[in-house]
Amino acid sequence: MAERVLSAPAEAGAALWPRRLLGLALLLLLLALMAGLHLSLGASSLEAGSLWQALVDYNPQDAGQNIIREIRQPRLVVALVVGAALAVAGVLMQAVSNNPLADPGLLGINSGAAFFVVGGLLMLPGSQHGWLPLYAFAGAAFAALLVLLLSGRQQSPERLVLAGVAVTALFAAMTAILLIVDQQGLDKLRHWLTGAIGASDLKKLAWVWPWLLAGLVLTALLARSLNAHHLGDRAAASLGVNVGLLKLASLALVIVLSGSVVAVAGPIGFVGLVVPHMARLLVRSDYRWLLPYALVLGAVLLVSADLAARIVVRPYEINTGIITALVGAPVFIALVIGRMR
């Protein structure tokens, strides 16, 4: 301990590089393993041999290989992207609000986006599908605004969470009214509304990937400013960071990231809450490392959740959003019991 304190910061940073890289490589290995399991396990389990063949030398006539390429691979891609985007959004929210309990799902942003998407689909049936992400962004922004209004100037964690709960209740009720008025809509949308990942979602991913990519790149650019902000608003300002602009940019990025995810897979909660804490256990709070770690961990978590969703009650499936809530809520409770006064 003493050595680490005495050594110059730059030196310590240099010494950490290989360890951090090794950790990231191990996480990527874990991700590859989970992805392999995701592809091979399911309603019908396939062997490693046919998995390898499907990936390297695809033969469309073979039923097993067909399942992998046509059904499971698109689903895997969607799960990877969704998990990574949600985790990064969670890191951003927790960093900017100084609140260990921030999460796009808990704070009502997901449900706002979901309401706008449902409303858009039911009210304007002829609209282009490319518009869906824009509906989701509008809803996410609206919900974020409401939460900020409700939580007021004192940013205590419990007040922010309660404001999020109230806003979630508001949007859930409005979605429920829309679905009661339009009964056929309920049957179509009830899977999507609990956060579902399906094979057909690769198509939806095509509408949102430019947004997601831009969001992730811009987030990476913010890493240094986030590090400065971690020292406090004043210290960040003295280091040349425009704190107001940083908060605004982070909010916009959170809206884009979680809005895109909702447009693809519906509201999936708790990934953004759990993953940043897992990543922080591994790399403390250096955002240059925290962001990539969270990205990979988020992908790992969502792929595993999706895997569990498919094999727990084989041959039926549970929605992924339900699994993440069942896993994430106990983590939330543990955080509350352990961390809060």
């Binding site: 808990l106 969470v161 209740a169 009720a173 609990t194 339900i322 509350v336």
Partner: protein, 356 residues
């Protein structure tokens, strides 16, 4: 002496020798005027619907049912009255529970939905309706929902006091458990038979269209049994609102009092949820509306919030069944839709709405 100071001066009032209440004229005026508003709304609600009556007709049917045609008496007494009364009773119960919770936790955004009663009750009910239809007779469904609510509320209290009770923990553990249980109920909703799901969803949205006189009677007893102790504990609530230490210095031990007060508010919430389903926003909004008229004096705040809760649910239910008739919107959803935007503006403006 000006009128304003006269209205604000506490007047001693001794119903029994040795028992002294202090009442302010202003509070009495507000209470009476809200009672009048509730009565007018009651008549309007009883007269509107698919079979339209005038308010005068309703008045006559209520006062002298024997002199009126049979059909009118049946419409009013069999169909509309139980529904209206149930709406008012549930609203009052939820509002009182909301006042108590906000004072116990000293948090303006606490509400009965957060202590897990609603989530526990809904999950229990969904289990009974969707997974095992016919196992529990319809008459006993509210009772099983209530049991579930009590169980979950107990679990939340145990978890939040595992490492020393604190109001913040109670609220946040409540949020966590609620979201876990709502994931469970979403699972049931997604995979259940669509017809069973539709009826369960109506109940979950807070709807009163199947209320019978028996349920009204049960609800009235619960409100009496739990509401009167709530009203009598106004002094303890006043002191707790100022902080645990202040309360302790005036002889109110928060470790002994809070579990009892929580039990009362859970009983109120559970009975309301069992009768009418989830009416999430009433317990959050009614206390704030009442506070604008009488501040934090719980002796007046509790009855006033009860009246406002009754008003809100009655209004929500009546609008829900008349706006888009013949389609019936659940009362809970209407209340959220009308109340939430106003509530958000109110919370933004209020200076003393913060958690301390």
């Amino acid at each position: 002496m000006s009128l304003a100071t006269k209205m604000n001066r506490p007047l001693p009032f001794t119903p029994l020798p040795g028992l002294v209440f202090r009442l302010r004229l202003k509070d009495l005026c507000w209470l009476l005027s809200f009672i009048a508003i509730v009565l007018v709304l009651f008549l309007w609600s009883a007269s509107s619907g698919s079979y339209h009556l005038s308010m005068a007709q309703v008045w006559q049917v209520l006062l002298a049912p024997d002199a009126q045609p049979d059909r009118l008496v049946r419409v009013v007494w069999e169909f509309r009255l139980p529904r209206i009364l149930a709406a008012m009773l549930c609203g009052a119960a939820l509002a009182i529970a909301g006042v108590m919770l906000q004072s116990i936790t000293r948090n303006a955004l606490a509400s009965p939905g957060l202590i897990g009663v609603e989530a526990g009750a809904s999950v229990t009910l969904l289990f009974c309706v969707i997974l095992m239809p016919g196992l529990v007779p319809i008459f006993w469904l509210p009772v099983s929902a209530m049991l579930g609510g009590f169980l979950v509320a107990g679990l939340i209290y145990l978890l939040s006091s595992a490492r020393g009770y604190s109001p913040v923990r109670l609220i946040l553990v409540g949020v966590g458990i609620t979201s876990m249980l709502s994931a469970l109920s979403e699972m049931l909703i997604t995979y259940g038979d669509i017809d069973l799901v539709e009826s369960a969803l109506m109940w979950l949205g807070g709807s009163l269209h199947q209320v019978s006189w028996g349920q009204v009677e049960v609800m009235a007893w619960w409100l009496l049994l739990a509401g009167v102790p709530a009203l009598l504990s106004f002094r303890q609530l006043n002191l707790l609102r100022l902080g645990d230490k202040v309360a302790l210095s005036r002889g109110v031990d928060n470790r002994k009092v809070i579990p009892l007060l929580l039990l009362i508010s859970v009983a109120l919430t559970a009975s309301a949820v069992a009768t009418a389903g989830t009416l999430t926003f009433v317990g959050l909004m009614a206390p704030h509306m009442a506070r604008r008229f009488c501040g934090d004096r719980h002796g007046v705040l509790i009855p006033l919030a009860g009246l406002l809760g009754a008003l809100l649910v009655l209004l929500g239910d009546t609008l829900g069944r008349t706006l888009l008739a013949p389609l019936q919107l659940p009362a809970g959803l209407v209340i959220v839709l009308v109340g939430a935007p106003w509530f958000i503006v109110l919370m933004h403006r209020s200076r003393h709405g913060g958690a301390n």
